[in-house]
Amino acid sequence: MRPRSLSRHGVTRLSTVSLAALAVVALSACGARVDSGEAAPTAAESCVDTSGDTVKVGFLNSLSGTMAISEQTVHDSLQLAAEEINADGGVLGKQLEIVSEDGQSEPTVFAEKAGKLITSDCVAAVFGGWTSASRKAMLPVFEAQDSLLFYPVQYEGLESSPNIFYTGATTNQQIVPALDYLAEQGTESLFLVGSDYVFPRTANKIINAYAEAHGIEIVGEEYAPLGHTDFSTIVNKVKSADADAVFNTLNGDSNVAFFKEYNNAGMSADEMPVVSVSIAEEEIGGIGVDNIEGQLTAWNYYQTVESPANEAFVEAFKAKYGEDRPTSDPMEAAYTSLHLWKAMVEKAESFAVADVVAAADGVTFDAPEGQVVVNGDNHHIAKTALIGTIGEDGLIHTEWSSGEPIEPDPYLEGYDWADGLS
């Protein structure tokens, strides 16, 4: 070839040709349109292989990035549950084979890895997710592929996907009982502090509606960007608002800065208690017991819960991961989720998603938090609400209990004051 022919327009010409070729291919590859009435081919048939001695399940937690702090603990308790189940003969006689993926604390990665677990690894179910964003990102993937996700963290409600089981609390099992408790204690005014994202904003919307109906005054509502580290202004506002209590939906590192500032500004649990819904046992060490002792939390499980199931769980966990490792609500919910899936599969006598979902209603498990029951309509589970006080031992001690499991109500349909919230 002479250099000339390659010289001036060679690249341009070739690129035109290749672009045209690709454009033709792209158009010829067109599939169904949503508005044409053609039926889109349904999602690929499930590739889950149940012919052998094992069945694959996926664990999808953030093992790197900012959420690794929390999600690693969930991952650990899932591993524990899998080991127990395998030691106990597996599920329907098949040993669990764990495929573990890292969500990297990014919703996009969660969506991608969920797709990988379902379509490449062909897992029978996936366990994991923490942030609302990660769950929202995975939801369409599970619905499109008609697969199952077990999500183990308390969240903001307003959701009930046929392909997700929610084993953490929805709002009427955590936030509403916490408000009931505060109202019982004679709280007349509240200050709301939260991180600037979905859960706190939705929670505070609910709290505002509740407060209005119950004559509680909301004297302030402040949001800090995720990762915010300077709380002097917000604490100044809290202090001068002089509320009866503070409702705290801050997330992660911000809690440390908030409580240090709160204490240093001379405020205490006696003066203005803080009710937190995102601080569990494993975060207390990082905040410093001195800074948070006596403050309140709302969950459905504490390491100090007294039950034979919990004693066994805590003992097994410490034996596997070390004496210094506490157990917490999300860890318990994750542990429970794997056992619940096993119970559903065994009730259905099938690993197929449709069979498992059909069998889910009424499945129970004697969980560390007490017996839990799956609600087949909304895929949540009935849980007992517990208000706890943080003790000087760094653990949380139950102060108040709803007494019996609360039926899940993710859309708060059973509460008059919540009309028009969603």
Binding site: L6, A32, E112, A144
Partner: protein, 355 residues
């Protein structure tokens, strides 16, 4: 064309061959990859589009932009907003607004109902922002590290804004759960294949545009202004204008990448557009060879692939790997892997001419 000037550009034949090879590989990829892997490749192609723009702005123009996530995000969010509105149907309200918002579509969303307006806005909004910001900083001769830090702060501010406007932007959740792409069902494998081909064609088109810009007089001017800004000024050029053009082109390429990322990946969230992903865009460019034509594309795809496969094996391994890549490649191989090939080639040529 004289023999002499042909010799001056020995890269031409190779460029052409590489381009043809890349096109052929992209065309054949669907025959060997599973649908899941093909979707991943399509996603990598979208990220590579950002890299093409960075190659031009940074490699050629010396503009170290640590905020390309902003333009990627603008393109992505505008596309996502359109898809959300289209899914909701005429006059409909996107699902997340019903859950978290007022249940009303805000006025500034409305123009995006029209597919044509959406495409225009995807191109124009990032271009306008880049032009305004570029003009403001470059005419004041803000450059080097100052520009890098400002662009990074822009990315930080952009994510804070996105997260804070949950009712209208989806907050940290971002926007996802799209059913259709301009009427085509996103669940249909044939349509996903179509999206892949669109991404491949757009990327090849961008590479051709970048090639034309880099080899044109503008490309020479860009290098000139990068190395000796004042000399350019004393020759009567306005360096700010030259830089703004490069910055705008890079921004538009990033925006197109973002816009295609949305239907392919099915989600866009603040975590895809902030400070960290913005710097992440640079690593592939640095590894492939920032000043070369195909280097940024290949580097970007390779890094994306490495991220996916390494993190599948060792979660924390990826962070060490990424950190090590930044350190080793940038410190010891500033020309990227392309410069290794270049050195080897020069050595071969030298041997041949000696023989």
């Amino acid at each position: 064309m004289t023999v002499l000037s042909a010799l001056a550009r020995p890269g031409r034949t190779r460029t052409l061959a590489a381009y043809g090879l890349a096109a052929a590989l992209l065309l054949l990829a669907p025959t060997v990859l599973s649908p899941f892997r093909l979707d991943l490749l399509a996603k990598f192609l979208c990220l590579a589009m950002v890299a093409v723009g960075i190659g031009l702005a940074w490699g050629r123009g010396g503009l170290l932009t640590l905020g390309q996530g902003v333009y990627f995000g603008l393109g992505g969010y505008l596309m996502a907003m359109h898809l959300k509105l289209a899914d909701a149907g005429p006059g409909g309200v996107p699902d997340f607004m019903l859950l978290y918002g007022t249940g009303q579509v805000p006025g500034w969303w409305e123009p995006l109902r029209s597919p044509i307006a959406a495409i225009l806005l995807i191109l124009l909004v990032p271009a306008a922002l880049a032009a305004a910001l570029g003009w403001a900083v470059f005419t004041r001769r803000v450059r080097g590290a100052y520009f890098a830090i400002l662009s990074q702060a822009l990315a930080a501010a952009f994510t804070i804004l996105l997260i804070g406007q949950q009712q209208t932007t989806g907050g940290t959740n971002g926007l996802n759960g799209f059913r259709a792409f301009f009427g085509y069902d996103l669940a249909d494998p044939a349509n996903r294949l179509m999206l892949y081909f669109i991404a491949a064609a757009v990327l090849l088109g961008m590479v051709a545009v970048a090639h034309q810009l880099a080899t044109s007089r503008f490309g020479e001017l860009l290098v000139a202004v990068r190395d000796q800004e004042d000399r350019g000024r004393f020759l009567g050029y306005d360096p700010a204008l030259v830089k703004v053009v490069a910055y705008v082109v890079a921004a538009v390429m990033a925006a197109i990448g973002g816009a295609l990322f949305v239907p392919i990946v099915g989600i866009i969230s603040p975590a895809d557009v902030g400070v960290v992903p913005s710097i992440g865009f640079l690593i592939g460019v640095a590894i492939g060879g920032r000043a070369t034509l195909l280097g940024p594309v290949l580097g970007s795809i390779a890094v994306s692939w490495a991220q996916t496969s390494i993190s599948e094996q060792f979660p924390s391994g990826w962070i060490y790997f990424q950190g090590a890549l930044f350190i080793l490649v940038v410190a010891f191989l500033p020309g990227g892997l392309a410069s290794v090939a270049g050195v080897a080639r020069r050595r071969r040529t030298a041997e041949r001419s000696r023989a």
